[in-house]
Symmetry: C2
Subunit: 376 residues, 2 copies
């Protein structure tokens, strides 16, 4: 057997040769980029890449290496494309993005919509993003808010997308796919739930409790101590408070914010009943215009995956090979197609980055119905 | 400018050299594998790999190539490790997995537990997996089922994990992390919801409807036509049917299965009210023993991700570089740590595969609290 130290010397020698060849290869790919500027040819030539992969993998002497060479060259060719997009950008040949770059959101005089009633957490998020003096109104459902935007009756909608304890607000994810509205901003709001009832209500009297399903889920531990209470879902935590006021029964209570309890004249029976004391919700700012902030650093996209073995693996490789940092992956079932999923991915970047263009181009080629939800 | 055809000739020449060097490198890595068998050394030597990456990337002449070389070698070294695990396995040096391989599940005489009451969809799943004649009993909550298993009062629990319309049953995901129970099987059951009430109930009379939150979500379109109905969440669709029978009010209805309606003597007021006619639910079979079927082809794991840029990207690269097909990714917030997630990944493979060992070893090194939920 060859001693380990000797094998390692040989490995080091091979590796320095590979590095030299890699550098030479990248130089040549830069040259290819320049010829493409002159000829107006596309950077991504799928057919040529497939041919190259087939030729190279056939050169390998066993199956393990055939697969290895294929994987290696998928990565090498992704790098070459990224370099070429960079060169194109440096030479001013910038692919026009469908999104229009703006310097800042037009907050002044904007009409704003949120879901719920006065006192909803969404309203608090809206105030904190647009200021207390803004011009806002509310609608009954998330869908209503999306339709209001689509009709141009509001400039921006403020919608909850994710809670730190309960997870994604799946309905809002689904509506982002259905409507041609786009995310232009986000804001995180701390959430603190109260148990609120009519003044003078005793906790022992309560028989049923109203809240948004997320409010109920986020207070599961407290509610588990009262298994005899009926848990009734309503569209919003502030609507729950309004309902308790309206029906005037001491057997009813709401899980809502301190502000919602106050404006609906309820007494706080128990403070901070959320399981997690660091509970917070992320809200998105949505517009019907296809715009993005020029300095934006986060992109949200969604895509569907064809029902084939290995497809998710291939699509995620576009993020990996382009060195793009995914901050979140969420999957949602696609309606009408059993066990097929739509993926929502958040990653760091700007639509004008070469690596982002490269990844999006590749994903568009392999996934179904890629949609850029926003860059903000 | 050099003509494109000439550049391509040079590229082809470089590529055939890279392929030759790749093959030579793999041969040497196989030799390293053999010395490791003799010396009993670990395949994965993180420190050595980090040193190698630093040395090689310093050889590159610009930042783009430094990053490129690093990525390329992360992949190459993952391949080398995979090859070494293969060689170890071929030489009978098989890492002992913590899971004990079994040839088949001991279904005969097994005590089975499900959540809900008689007529629950879980009971139907249980019958379809273990046969109609099996010995089963029910408990009130998913947690109760997990505790029953932990105490050894049941051999297997049958729990819903995912619905094709409504998505993940997040509570069951969270319980899989909390308890030391393992997935040993799965079964998919078609789901068809009925609106059921006391005999003679008219749809116009209904004021409130009971179901499991998933039952309500899966019938959202039908229920949206009746916005005046209160939607009340209970622990199980069969409990909803039982409640309507017990309370004897024609203002109440349940969203439940045909079977649950039948055994609770309810009349079906409207058939198949689920939004999606292909609605189905995937159930898992859970055991308190750390066992796996020797011919198992699917692995479920979960892990937490440290709050650092690029960490998800790095962890997913272990699947990509080992050519492992992920079939599902689910993220859940980690309680008490805002915006940190626990990921649940399903992928194809067996705990004894070299690629699986390689990936799990790497993920364990980089993620926090890796847990293998089962191989089935």
């Amino acid at each position: 057997m060859i001693p380990l130290s000797e094998i390692r010397e040989q490995l080091d020698e091979i590796d320095s040769q590979i590095v030299r060849l890699y550098e030479k290869r990248m130089e040549l790919c830069a040259e290819v980029g320049l010829t493409k500027i002159a000829s107006g040819k596309k950077v991504y030539d799928k057919e040529r890449e497939m041919q190259k992969l087939a030729t190279l993998s056939q050169m390998a002497s066993n199956e393990f290496n055939q697969r290895g060479i294929t994987e290696l060259y998928e990565q090498l060719m992704a790098m070459s494309r990224k370099l070429q997009y960079q060169i194109l950008t440096e030479h001013g040949v910038i692919g026009k993005t469908a999104f229009i770059g703006i310097d800042s959101l037009d907050k002044k005089g904007a009409r704003l919509v949120f879901q719920g009633v006065e006192g909803a957490y969404s309203q608090a998020a809206l105030h904190s993003y647009f200021g207390e003096e803004c011009d806002s109104f509310h609608v009954q459902t998330f869908r209503d808010a999306m339709e209001t935007l689509e009709d141009g009756l509001a400039d921006y909608a403020v919608l909850p997308i994710e809670n730190s304890s309960a997870g994604a607000v799946s309905q809002v994810y689904d509506l982002l796919v259905e409507f041609e509205n786009h995310i232009v901003g986000e804001i995180v709001l701390p959430i603190r739930h109260m148990l609120a009832g009519l003044p003078g209500t005793k906790i022992e009297e309560i028989e049923c409790v109203y809240s948004h399903p997320q409010g109920l889920m986020q207070s599961a531990r407290f509610l588990d101590e009262h298994r005899n209470w009926q848990q009734i879902s309503v569209a919003n935590t502030a609507i729950a408070a309004q309902k308790v006021l309206k029906e005037q029964k001491k057997t009813q209570a709401a899980v809502c914010s301190e502000y919602a309890a106050k404006i609906h004249h309820l007494e706080i029976l128990k403070e901070g009943i959320n399981d997690n004391s660091n509970n917070s919700t992320r809200f998105i700012i949505v517009s019907n215009q296809k715009v993005y902030l020029k300095q934006a650093g986060k992109i949200s996209i969604c895509f569907e995956i064809p029902h084939e073995s290995g497809s998710l693996y291939h699509i995620l490789s576009h993020f990996i090979y382009n060195n793009l940092n995914m901050t979140k992956i969420e999957s949602r079932p696609i309606e009408g197609r059993t066990w097929e999923y739509r993926f929502f991915v958040d990653f760091e970047g700007n639509l004008n980055d070469a690596a982002v263009k490269n990844a999006i181009r590749g994903i568009r080629e392999e996934a179904r119905n890629l949609k850029i939800l926003g860059n903000y």
